[in-house]
């Protein structure tokens, strides 16, 4: 029974992976006027990575989720693992999200909010509903500027490898986390992201994280971005910090009266 189940799970996994690979290989992406794959549109994840990038059961206020970490394990150094556990235990107060700050990359990519991609010669621009994030990915061949710089969303330089947009991101702050479960990185974080259209309305998004202060080796997260198809859908406004300030002002006014 157990063997049979394992076999059918394996078979199912194989079929899923094969189908996935087949889509990615055979899909000829639409192109911009400039000839690059046209990634433009409004995109959003449909996963629970914002709560926890790893496999996790449901917690109050957090949906259960199958993780997006390839192999599920994050290769923390021993001290970093302790810090992660402490972060998790104190996540309600320690999570930088609770201060309304820009959430960093890659966390911004899998917040449960839409973002929109625009392509013009030399630039792939991404604008995010969450905290008005802007990522400008330079595809004009320029290198990262001379550092040191500390930016909440890093500095992004991209290039096309076949039909995949490959983005190198560096110059981070160490004050952002990876999710609401306390997974974290330092300011030494370096990312390589890969965006590949898998169909007209699906995009494979993969990000490899390298951080010699926190992890023992580079590791990868992989997820699917879904195109928002509702007529006239647009990126709206969710500015967490301003909403917190507004709530605070409302409370103070109520107390004063």
């Amino acid at each position: 029974m157990r063997t049979q189940l394992a076999a059918s799970v394996a078979a199912l996994a194989f079929v899923t992976i094969a189908a996935h690979a087949a889509i990615a290989q055979t899909f000829a992406p639409p192109r911009t006027r400039e000839g690059t794959p046209n990634l433009q549109g409004i995109w959003q994840v449909m996963n629970a990575a914002a709560w926890d990038v790893q496999d996790h059961g449901a917690r109050l206020g957090a949906p259960a989720g199958q993780g997006i970490v390839v192999g599920n394990e994050i290769p923390y150094q021993p001290q970093a693992l302790e810090k992660k556990r402490d972060n998790f235990a104190n996540r309600l107060t320690k999570d930088p999200e609770s201060k309304g700050y820009l959430p960093g990359v890659p966390r911004l990519m899998y917040m449960p909010f839409p973002f929109q991609i625009f392509q013009t010669p030399g630039y792939v621009s991404m604008v995010f509903e969450y905290n008005r994030g802007i990522r400008i990915i330079y595809t004009n061949g320029t290198p990262h500027p001379r550092g040191p710089l500390t930016w909440w969303l890093g500095d992004s330089r991209g290039r096309w490898e076949g039909d995949t947009l490959v983005v190198d991101v560096t110059y981070f702050t160490g004050e952002t986390w990876l999710d609401r479960a306390g997974n974290f990185h330092s300011d030494q974080l370096h990312l390589v992201e890969r965006f590949t259209l898998a169909g007209p309305d699906h995009m494979n998004y993969e990000v490899t994280l390298e951080d010699p202060q926190v992890f023992t080796r580079p590791w990868t997260m992989r997820m699917v971005l879904y195109r928002r198809k509702e007529p006239d859908v647009r990126v709206l406004d969710y500015d967490a910090g301003l909403l917190m300030d507004e709530e605070q002002a409302r409370r103070e006014r109520a107390n004063a009266n």
């Binding site: 911009t32 006027r33 400039e34 046209n38 433009q40 201060k99 309304g100 700050y101 820009l102 929109q116 625009f118 392509q119 013009t120 630039y123 621009s125 604008v127 008005r132 994030g133 802007i134 400008i136 330079y138 500027p145 930016w151 909440w152 969303l153 702050t173 004050e175 006239d232 647009r234 990126v235 709206l236 406004d237 500015d239 910090g241 301003l242 300030d245 507004e246 605070q248 002002a249 409302r250 103070e252 006014r253």
Partner: protein, 303 residues
């Protein structure tokens, strides 16, 4: 007192006072062949726009792309700053004498309804509230176009124009596909914008504003009933005429129009930086300790 002493004292006074009461040093005598006083520039730019043939995108639209900075502006007061304004002599943050940015109506003042006068124009807002730009929200439209550098991007799909602002990482997505305005219950800081081309002019109509922003440092304001029409027109390869008309039946008796220039940043290595404000704004606590309150449109709401 000797004459020498008098001369020294006089020159000291000149050094201290002259920069405070001076005209804006960033205001050149002319821009793109137009006089730089805002109304003169506005009239001259409208005339130039009739004949200037702008560069085009590959799809034939006027090509407004690039990095821009505002000129002929100050954010102290859209109604202008006169030499007798006390803030001109403020030792910490002196205002600069400047003409009004308002070019219509002829009085060049915001046509406030009576109740709103005491709130804007260095009234209740200025006295009691923190400029929302200082709380890391947004300069708001149109003050955004008065502030830091910005970038206009026109994807060749012609379905959107993207206007990015370095100031507090503000993004403006301008839908160019002829859609109608979203439901008015959706309120946002910088509104929701829809655009169209009228000849060589990009016309942007913005609605769904929450009324939480100020027009300038004087606390001049609009409410959540406001709608804004901006008109961007190239008048030479590196200068844009920017005119913005604000309508607000809750606060004004008539629409009014402001105008200034946007000039191209020509440094080929120029890039927008990340300006994360909330994450590093240090002076806000001090301002709050002085008793200033968060704005959120409180002074006009409930009237």
């Amino acid at each position: 007192m000797t004459n020498r002493c008098m001369a020294l004292a006089a020159s000291l006074v000149a050094i201290v006072v002259a920069p405070l009461a001076a005209q804006d040093p960033d205001r050149p005598p002319s821009v793109a062949g137009c006089a730089s006083e805002n109304l003169a520039f506005h009239r001259c730019a409208l005339e130039k726009a009739r004949t200037f043939n702008p560069p085009r995108t590959p799809t034939g639209k006027p090509n407004l792309q690039g990095f821009w900075r505002s000129l002929l502006t100050q954010s102290f007061s859209v109604e202008g700053v006169t030499a007798d304004e006390p803030m001109v002599r403020n030792p910490v943050m002196p205002w600069v004498v400047a003409p009004p940015e308002i070019v219509e109506p002829a009085a060049r003042k915001i046509p406030y309804q009576p109740w709103a006068v005491a709130i804007g124009r260095k009234g209740v807002n200025f006295e009691k509230y923190i400029d929302p730009r200082t709380t890391c929200s947004t300069a708001g439209i149109p003050r955004l176009a008065l502030q830091d550098p910005n970038q206009i991007l026109q994807p060749s799909t012609d379905d959107y124009v993207l206007w990015l602002h370095e100031d507090h990482h503000v993004q403006r997505v301008i839908a160019m596909d002829g859609r109608s305005a979203p439901g008015q219950a959706i309120k946002t800081w910088n509104g929701l914008s829809r655009g169209r081309w009228e000849g060589n002019t990009l016309v942007i109509e913005t609605t769904n504003l929450n009324g939480y922003i100020w027009l300038d440092d004087s606390g001049n304001f609009y409410t959540d009933a406001a709608s804004i029409v901006e008109r961007l027109t190239l008048i030479d390869p590196d200068t844009m005429h920017y005119a913005v008309t604000i309508t607000d039946p809750k606060a004004y008796t008539a629409p009014f129009t402001l105008a200034w220039a946007l000039v191209r940043v020509k440094d080929p290595t120029f890039e927008l930086f990340e300006e994360a404000c909330r994450e590093g704004e240090a002076s806000l606590e001090t301002i709050k300790q002085q008793g200033y309150k968060y704005y959120f449109g409180e002074s006009w709401r409930g009237r």
